[in-house]
Symmetry: C2
DNA sequence: TCTCGCGTTCGGTATCACAGAACTCCGTTC
DNA sequence: GAACGGAGTTCTGTGATACCGAACGCGAGA
């Protein structure tokens, strides 16, 4: 677990264990976990595990499903997730435009915020295609192999990019993956020139993604909007207009959140 | 905080405090809370508060926003909420139909699951109207003053209804509110007859809601679907067809999740 | 019927969560 | 510019308590 801001010292052990428990249950997926399974994964005594689980359950963070009780993620998480989405004003403002963008392109569109240079997707509108992209919300995604990530990175200086892009992550997922920091930097130069970023099967085979940055009232890059689709659907003939469309929407969203630099 | 399933004994105090902290931060809304504000609300020492907050933050459940650090709900909650939504197969299956329903009616449509007789909304598609209904997801709503709640209640026996509907909650929010258990029961009889439930300004002035139950493969009531709109938009002329539409969609969803009782 | 594995309860103990005091670092005021 | 107040942070002692292990009850298979 990466510590985003804070140090390890002066933390509450039992709280951390409870949160690890949520992680474990989340990873278990649909099937959920039994008490003993949880205790084994967390390397705790069953009795301690139950105390923590009951606490989480009484707040709705876990849901206990009889019989032979199995633990699932609780609906309180749904409520809090909804709260976060509502509170993030960028998401609130941009969502109608995401729907429009998907309507217009037929592709899955997503909105990412800029969290210290990393893209964190906070809204998603699924496209018409039968393929559903597994794109979890709320977690940091790869900065250099997603359209949104590259759109955000392109707004930063070279030394910041070097700090954010972890050399260990520059591995070849596909034939097109960027595997050196120099390749990333030169790609970002291109993004700066045209205003949008293309992930041409760099993150996953057969998947293309176009992203463009969103600027807030103070000129800072607040995030990015992107569309994702299959290579077979996004032919060379449509990629040009698609980029123009995404860029237009990113500018619309920027304008909505008060950016006046445009025009 | 109601204890859903578990008893108070054998819980972990520090975990409960941490979760209360999340509640407090959630209630604080956009502005977030400072460390001292949290400490005051939770009646804890600042140092203890900070330890808990740091633990939550290191797992992404809180987000620390400099300067003069203010604490907000973290994006991990978004991720978990998304996970819950994905895992709840009813929501996954019904969402496209909710979109259709909103498309067809122009109203906000919602999907509730049946949690021990209470409606818990897990999906929402906002209508075209300029009014946005504040309808949080993931928490138990009133069973007797919402369309979805009444649709679910109507599938239960009288003694179960008496157990679920708290007499203390039978207060008059509006002139149309049902204020006695007998009024509720007789209303439910009507719901059983026609198959759908109407909340005619019972929960809030000027707001009408039509709900219909969803049945799973085993014939149990899995939840309900409902549409919500302003009284001025839902005239007497359209309410009839609207009810038919909602009922039709509830049957479609029932069919999709494997209910074979229909036709 | 016996047994195994599960969830649950309970009591003792070492841990660690907590409070409080001390400290630093602002911004404000006199 | 010094003094002040209020903020966040660090540190330490200690008593509450989170944890473990053992025992219990129960249902499902064998």
């Amino acid at each position: 677990m990466p510590n985003l801001v804070t140090s390890d010292r002066y933390q509450v052990r039992s709280v951390a264990r409870a949160l690890e428990m949520l992680e474990a249950v989340g990873e278990s997926g649909e099937s959920g976990l039994s008490l003993t399974e949880m205790a084994q994964r967390l390397d705790m005594a069953k009795s301690s595990t139950m105390a923590a689980a009951r606490t989480l359950a009484s707040f709705g963070f876990l849901r206990i499903e009889a019989p032979g009780p199995r633990y699932h993620l609780g609906f309180a998480l749904l409520r809090y997730g909804d709260l976060v989405a509502q509170m993030t004003s960028l998401g609130k403002i941009a969502l109608p435009l995401l729907h429009e963008l998907t309507e217009e392109t037929g592709l899955t569109s997503r909105l990412a915020i800029n969290e210290e240079g990393y893209p964190v997707f906070i809204e998603r509108v699924d496209g018409r295609g039968s393929v559903r992209f597994h794109t979890p919300l709320g977690q940091r995604e790869s900065p250099h192999s997603t359209g949104a990530g590259k759109a955000i990175l392109a707004q930063l200086g070279e030394e910041q990019v070097r700090r954010i892009v972890n050399p260990d992550d520059l591995v070849a997922h596909t034939a097109n993956s960027l595997t050196t920091i120099d390749a990333v930097l030169s790609d970002l130069k291109h993004v700066q020139l045209v205003g949008y970023a293309i992930d041409n099967e760099e993150g996953a085979e057969g998947i293309i993604c176009v992203g463009a940055p969103i600027f807030s009232y103070n000129g800072h890059c607040a995030g990015a909007v992107s569309v994702t689709g299959l290579k077979v659907d996004i032919t060379q003939r449509v990629i040009g207009p698609l980029c123009t469309t995404v860029l237009a929407y990113s500018e619309k969203i920027s304008a909505l959140i008060g950016n006046v630099r445009l025009q």
